[in-house]
């Protein structure tokens, strides 16, 4: 069963001078529980694709169906709560909020979910941080952590709301190979143990080969 379906998706960026066709006629189905790698040269539209799947951006044309919901007609507030419940993000540059400590960064998705008490939030934060081996870093600030630790905090944040889908854009891009391997192990764990669907952009062939499927892009078009 497909959890993510892209149909005839085009994305055009228009600036004053130029028009960039970032995605051209993309048709893609991702199955529930699948771990998919997206590969391709820089500028070929990988991040654009991930943003569109993650409902952070809208396609110029085409439809996106996630978990049987066609997202095209949702308003901003509906998109926000859909993301909050169903999608977790991991970014290359971590994107932790520097003014918040680890626990507060991790709790972020729950802060935007109604009906979650402060107590539940604390328990959930402790639970995911323990799982990721960071429970002793709760009161630290992002500036006091290594890159690998930051990315683990970011992963904790991505899964605290228990989303079915995790989108990771070059999650190991800023890490050395040892830390990168740690992060990959965690992602595989999320996939195998929790059954989460993972879509990951990567430049690393060997990482990609460990996943269920590789989708290759060139110049906005899916080539494989």
């Amino acid at each position: 069963m497909a959890i993510i379906t892209l149909k005839d998706v085009n994305k055009v960026y228009r600036t004053k001078e130029i028009e960039t066709l970032a995605l051209e006629n993309v048709n893609l189905k991702i199955q529930k529980g699948e771990f998919v790698s997206i590969m391709g040269p820089s500028g070929c539209g990988k991040s654009t694709l991930l943003n569109i799947i993650g409902l952070l951006d809208v396609p110029t044309s085409g439809t996106i169906t996630i978990m049987d919901d066609t997202t095209g007609k949702m308003n901003d507030s509906q998109l926000s709560s859909f993301r909050n419940r169903n999608i977790g993000f991991v970014f290359q540059s971590f994107h932790l909020i520097p003014s918040l400590n680890v626990a507060e960064n991790v709790a972020l998705p729950l802060a935007y979910r109604s009906g979650v008490s402060a107590k539940e939030r604390h328990e959930k934060v402790a639970e995911v941080l323990t799982r990721l081996g960071l429970s002793h870093r709760m009161r630290h600030f992002p500036g006091q952590l290594s890159g690998g630790q930051c990315q683990r905090v970011a992963i904790a944040r991505a899964i605290i709301g228990d989303p079915q889908i995790v989108l990771a854009d070059e999650p190991t891009g800023n890490l050395d190979s040892k830390m990168g391997q740690e992060v990959m192990d965690i992602l595989h764990q999320l996939n195998k143990e929790d059954g989460r669907t993972i879509v990951m952009v990567t430049h690393n062939e060997s990482q990609a080969r460990m996943t269920d499927r590789i989708v290759r892009f060139f110049d906005g078009r899916q080539v494989e």
Partner: protein
């Protein structure tokens, strides 16, 4: 809680911009609160004018020749004062003061002469104002009836004359006549002009000057009963004006009503002594125009500061949006955080304005010439207690709130409108 975190973080990492925002807010609140306090000093309720909101004062009378242009306002004739103001419904106490208040020479027999500002008052006066007696007592009814030569001194007058405060029963000379001291009271701040004097001289109404059929030197002060509105008393007085008008018409004159008796605010904005009454409404309109300008101009500047601070946080806003923040929660957050800065700056501004109004009081408050020449203790400076008021605190909070809404709403709204994907692509 996290709002405070954010501000703390910005103070550390965007020192310059945060402090400019805070000082800008402080300056704005400082200016507007200085204006508010100077205006409000006339309605502050402190001893001995703790009942200010219930006190009404009448002192002037305006007569116009119905044919010609001849029109004049002067002090109240005692007989007219009694017909206009005695036995009004809702009035608890009525006191007559002789407005003929020239400074007096005061001394102990054969000793140094001091120039002092008197107030000529009856026994009722002491029921309206809550003076604190250090020694002795006020005048009683029998003493006023018999027109005894008595005074109540202020503490500093007693000190100047006797070198001590407990001097009830002692003798002094006022303009070379012998008087006896019956009481000593705490000093009154000269800004409380309807109760201030260096000393209080017993005044029988027979002593009020009435050398003219219309005018004289009677001042009437009344204390309203609890819960009685000034308006209801004014309406009664207006009707009494209509009643005396028939006599005035026979002689070709008109007694013009200007909304007497006046509240402290009305007395303070003046208009008595001129042919027009005080116009509190237009005074308030002018005040509010001034306040609006003093808030609006800094709000425009602060708004660009807010935008500048937010520019560093585009990616963060993108992250929050990605994880489910709705547009309005972003706006709420930014307004909330900004409110902390505004309050912080605002309280600094309020503190500065209190200190400034206190220190530079002679810029704002002036005494009548006669008072200025009286005893050296006279200084038109509000007591700090007249400035540290809950009311001022609430005004400052209100202005902070408005300033915050004006300076942060537009930047917050813009920040919330950036598409999440675009916001996230912002490198930090």
């Amino acid at each position: 809680m996290n709002y405070f975190r954010q501000i703390y973080y910005e103070m550390k990492h965007q020192k310059m911009m945060t402090w400019v925002s805070i000082s800008g807010t402080a300056l704005a609140i400082f200016l507007v609160m200085a204006f508010v306090m100077v205006d409000q000093i006339n309605s502050v309720e402190v001893a001995p004018e703790s009942n200010r909101s219930r006190i009404l004062i009448a002192s002037g009378f305006h007569v116009k020749n119905q044919k010609g242009m001849d029109s004049s306002t002067s002090g109240l004739n005692l007989d007219i004062a009694r017909r206009l103001y005695e036995n009004l419904e809702g009035v608890e106490v009525l006191s007559y003061i002789n407005a003929f208040n020239d400074n007096c020479d005061v001394n102990l027999p054969g000793q140094e002469i001091f120039t002092m500002a008197p107030k000529n008052v009856d026994n009722e006066f002491w029921k309206i104002y809550d003076f604190t007696f250090i020694d002795g007592r006020p005048f009683d009814e029998a003493e006023v009836k018999s027109d005894a030569k008595l005074v109540v001194l202020t503490k500093s007058a007693a000190r100047s004359l006797f070198g001590e405060e407990k001097v009830a029963g002692r003798e002094i000379e006022v303009d070379a006549y012998p008087y006896r001291v019956v009481g000593v009271v705490e000093d009154v701040n000269p800004l409380l002009s309807s109760s201030f004097a260096n000393f209080y001289k017993l005044c029988n109404i027979a002593g009020i000057k009435n050398d003219d059929p219309y005018f004289g030197s009677a001042n009437v002060v009344m204390l309203l009963k609890e819960g009685v509105s000034a308006e209801s008393v004014k309406t009664q007085v207006e009707n009494r004006y209509k009643m005396i008008q028939s006599e005035f018409s026979k002689e070709g004159y008109e007694a013009v009503y200007h909304g007497q008796p006046y509240t402290s605010e009305e007395v303070a904005i003046g208009g008595y002594g001129s042919n027009n009454g005080p116009d509190l409404d237009s005074h308030n309109v002018v005040q509010w125009i001034i306040y609006s300008i003093l808030i609006l101009l800094p709000a425009i500047n602060l708004s660009s500061m807010t935008r500048g601070r937010l520019r560093h946080r585009v990616a963060e806003i993108g992250v929050r949006r990605a994880f489910g923040a709705k547009r309005n929660s972003i706006i709420r957050q930014i307004l909330g955080e900004n409110l902390i800065i505004t309050f912080f700056g605002g309280m600094l501004g309020l503190l500065f304005s209190i200190i400034f109004v206190w220190l530079a009081s002679n810029m704002f408050f002036s005494m009548s010439g006669a008072l200025e020449q009286s005893l050296e203790v006279v200084n038109a400076r509000p007591d700090l207690g007249m400035l540290f008021r809950w009311k001022n605190f609430f005004w400052a909070l209100l202005f902070c709130f408005v300033l915050n809404v004006l300076s942060a709403t537009v930047p917050a709204w813009r920040a919330s409108k950036v598409e999440p994907a675009e916001a996230l692509s912002f490198a930090r």
